[in-house]
Symmetry: C2
Subunit: 304 residues, 2 copies
């Protein structure tokens, strides 16, 4: 089994109430692939600049991550995002976005990347997402992430790619923006009409809702005493979620629910420190231990 992610590798400069960091490794494909690699071999397709050093590459090494699709552009600079969070860690304030080499990113997949079991189209231009999809043999599962910018300004293209995917990852504000529905479930149903069979609504510290035409699955987030930096939480979630699904024989409702918990566990570790620091120090054993805690803290008995 293999999982392919196409997205960004970036440097982030981040300020939170608890500290600040400059030029930390980030980007959707980075968080995703490290999180997913605990479960399934990952192939990463992204672009970086000449300033991306061998030391930066170490985040991927020693893991089941194929980085041969990580193109280093000579003379180019890596995508750089600067942002800040206040005490409400649910809301990021973007201070600067320098796309740099990412502005010309046009993924061309090597033939070995053209038959993934699971494909994650991280948050990039929907035209590129569709282009990637057209380059691969239809995977067992295609998941897509997006953001407010594509919803408001590239809606037609986004609709086009949504018709081709299985699973859409969104946050609550995006559901409302997309559908004009104040009620989340009604908005979710409207999104499912467009194409995806499953919607995963990320609610930050409030957990996750997974909605299909037939079912709803709801979980709180793992409660943490110290949320240090929420950057990458969504992509770590996606990595744990799809990584786990990439590792199972049958993707049924039971596997999807377990995957949501694994995703939540990965996201909960990720926010405990800056950048990938926490993900890089944990093991599958730590992940399973927190999964068990998750179960303990959400379990309750049958009707009395």
């Amino acid at each position: 089994m293999s999982i392919l992610v196409v997205g960004s590798v970036a440097f982030d400069s981040i300020e939170t109430p608890f500290g600040k960091i400059d030029r930390a490794l980030g980007g959707s494909a980075t968080y995703f692939s490290v999180a997913a690699s605990f479960f399934t071999p990952v192939q990463i397709v992204a672009v970086v600049g000449e300033d991306f050093t061998d030391a930066d590459m170490e985040a991927f090494s020693g893991r089941s991550i194929d980085t041969s699709g990580l193109v280093r552009v000579k003379g180019g600079k890596t995508f750089h995002w600067s942002g800040a969070y206040g005490f409400d860690l649910n809301v990021a304030e973007t201070r600067a976005t320098h796309l740099n080499v990412f502005a010309d990113f046009k993924p061309e997949l090597a033939s070995k990347f053209r038959s993934p079991e699971v494909l994650f189209l991280a948050n990039i231009d929907p035209v590129l997402q569709l282009d990637v999809l057209n380059q691969v043999k239809r995977p067992r599962l295609v998941a897509l992430d997006t953001m407010n910018y594509w919803i408001s300004s590239h809606r037609a293209n986004l609709d086009r790619v949504l018709r081709e995917i299985d699973l859409l990852l969104v946050n609550e504000a995006e559901v409302r923006q997309f559908t004009g529905q104040a009620n989340l479930l009604k908005g979710a149903r409207a999104l499912l009409e467009i194409g995806p069979t499953t919607l995963v609504v990320k609610r930050g510290e409030y957990g996750v809702l997974m909605i299909t035409r037939e079912r709803v699955f709801a979980v709180p987030a793992y409660p943490l005493e110290s949320v240090f930096d929420p950057t990458g939480a969504g992509d770590s979630f996606a990595g744990g979620f799809l990584g786990y699904l990439g590792s199972v024989k049958t993707i049924d409702d039971d596997a999807m629910r377990r995957a949501i918990i694994y995703g939540s566990v990965l996201a909960s570790f990720n926010v405990e420190s800056f950048s990938l620091d926490r993900l890089r120090e944990i093991s599958r054993k730590d992940i399973d231990a927190r999964y068990r805690e998750f179960k303990t803290l959400t379990q309750f008995g049958d009707v009395a």
Copy 2:
């Protein structure tokens, strides 16, 4: 077993994006006692005006609710609250508060009300809450609700009563206001230091966290396609929660968790229409059916 509630009975005028209603029956003790009466006999102590009619009384009739402690003040007017909600149904905008007879409420408990198994001190002046507590033989369980006004302006009195109770019901903003802690778990620990052994943090559409010194229990809210009017959700929750606890032999962790689900179920029914309309038409069978759905929509398997 019996459960005693001391709080408000009111008329509410409410506007939501889905409609408006005038002079609808409301008040903390009203919602609480109707919700709790599905599980345990309830004694209600509150005050109303002469404008409170026999038709209004019908909300309590045919249920295990002892209304002999509901004092009707001659020539007085019933507490009247006017408020509105926008599409974000988590936030109420108060338009007018006419305390009327509630301004002089000074509960004097008849002797038959002085030995409840469970006592719910709904949101009233902490001085009155303490006074009620001093009139009863120590119940098995004492729970208290409060609001931002008492936290900001009557903090010393509130601290005094908090030292005497078992369980505090709060929302997230109140935890932060009370403790100055941005992190909810840290704030919760600070509140537990004051006195209560258990904190129940109500998060509206995001569910509930129950926190003790040893444990955390987290549940999402029951997802609803139509939230019509959130007024009374917190008190319906408290009614289902404490009503269930009033009906069990042993109040252990298992019972507390079940109680949180029953509370969530009652709150979810309550918000489906104005006033007590929905609570008045459901049965224990409906409640248990939704409890089972709750279990289905939150359940997941063990570590793979």
